[in-house]
Symmetry: C2
Subunit: 317 residues, 2 copies
Amino acid sequence: MTPAPAAANPSALPFADRLAAAVVAKKNAVLVGLDPRLASLPAGLQVAENAPWAEQAEAFRAFCRGVIDVVAPLVPAVKPQAAFFEQLGPAGMSALADAITYAREKGLLVILDGKRNDIGSTATAYAEGYLGRGPECAWGADALTVSPYLGDDSLTPFVDVSRQRGAGIFVLVKTSNPGGKTFQDLKVDGRPLYRHVADHVEAIARSTAGACGYGLAGAVVGATYPEQSVELRAAMPHTWFLVPGYGSQGATARDVAGAFDPRGLGAIVNNSRGIIFAHARREYERFGAARWQEAVEAATRDMIASLAAETPAGKLA
Amino acid sequence: MTPAPAAANPSALPFADRLAAAVVAKKNAVLVGLDPRLASLPAGLQVAENAPWAEQAEAFRAFCRGVIDVVAPLVPAVKPQAAFFEQLGPAGMSALADAITYAREKGLLVILDGKRNDIGSTATAYAEGYLGRGPECAWGADALTVSPYLGDDSLTPFVDVSRQRGAGIFVLVKTSNPGGKTFQDLKVDGRPLYRHVADHVEAIARSTAGACGYGLAGAVVGATYPEQSVELRAAMPHTWFLVPGYGSQGATARDVAGAFDPRGLGAIVNNSRGIIFAHARREYERFGAARWQEAVEAATRDMIASLAAETPAGKLA
């Protein structure tokens, strides 16, 4: 099934359908992670480590805009990592707001990686603050990553607000880090905990599935566990996967193939450092720090090509 | 054992010892939650629901300062809830920064309730951004709540930064909401998941225990599950408990008694709405909205008295 094209007011459509439309339109499923780090910025944007927070935040703002300018025509979505902006205090939060707004203006979907979680009216505050593009939302992201430990009633406020606002969430299910196994792999009734979390997420996704076949609740499923990706893809047919771990964490295009459905939908594959700091990678050092944006473009195009060659995302081309 | 008195530079001491000293000095374990909500502000601080974010944030700033002015002489610590500030965008984050700084200036410990969590250098960014009182930290909280789903290596960066900076964390273990059971109570090898999380937290706490007997890793243990509090108190002898659920969520002083050690240490009991919006409670309506700070003081003193009467915290008096 081909997702419907975006309507006149695209933000009124369900997030899952907007994501599918963006992936189809851009013909790839690359999610560029905006993880600004002072020490890794290209030479021209560097500021001193002890520069005032506002100066560091201004460097982040300029850098993120520079990345967005390059990737906006190429990929469907970006994923700002809240932590790096938060590290700079309120000034950093202003840079985050700028990155979200600028990315949206450039036609990108924005998945904010904040791994927020709480209960009751507190979870509602996070959801209302971060999710949706209307004037009632201060941040205006299209989706937010969410941690599940607090349980089903902690997810409900995020689901309710997402439904009202055409937004979405990605719930941590099976993460890419080695320590993900500490609790996620503990066996409950013979199945690892992450499968129980997966069941909850899939139930939400199934009950909210839109035209593209996917619902508003997605799952974070690490690329570093290819077998679990395949297992979870089968168990979660209505759930978009946000796949971290590609590139810098060691996973290859082949490792993420199982996260896609046969149409080439169902997964977006994140790459942060490997794209935004491509100028520091040996493969792209020919560009030098001054032409860092060309390195970003080359790395993005190379990742698109790898996914097309090695995964069902090739069907999008 | 009596905790050592605060040194000349109190922020250089381990967080657990600073918390113990503050509880002993104030003779109670009340943790006042700073959960500003526009609709609940006293009449004199109200702004329109559709007022600009900066105006709403200014109301939060004034309200939090007003609460802190009242409770600083009475209690050891406050707990700003990040979500309510984040809901107002970058302007709200400035109000949060102000609340943290103002509370510290008034001699309070600040436990930021952000339930942050991530992996690797991203977790480090959260830890370095929020934890510690030095110029290298943009926010300057003494402790931060943390979610454990991502596993042991996701906790390590928070532990490392806490150790370096005399800060602390409170890891979600058994939360106060009804849905906390969804995953936390699932049985792994015959014991609920939260007991496995508790083991990890206690191991960190034991290995970092200071003069007061507690370590830098605390646990969030909901007051709404008194039996589990008793069970966890026994299983986690080196772990400070942050106890939510008192008051508005239905738990009484008697329900939280089991979270304390026999000295009256080991637990801090949070109350948010029941204190900061006391002017709206029938018991304190005699003060009226204009004298809302007197209602805050009365509610704080009443909670201190209840805990002293019904729990080992009475030994602190």
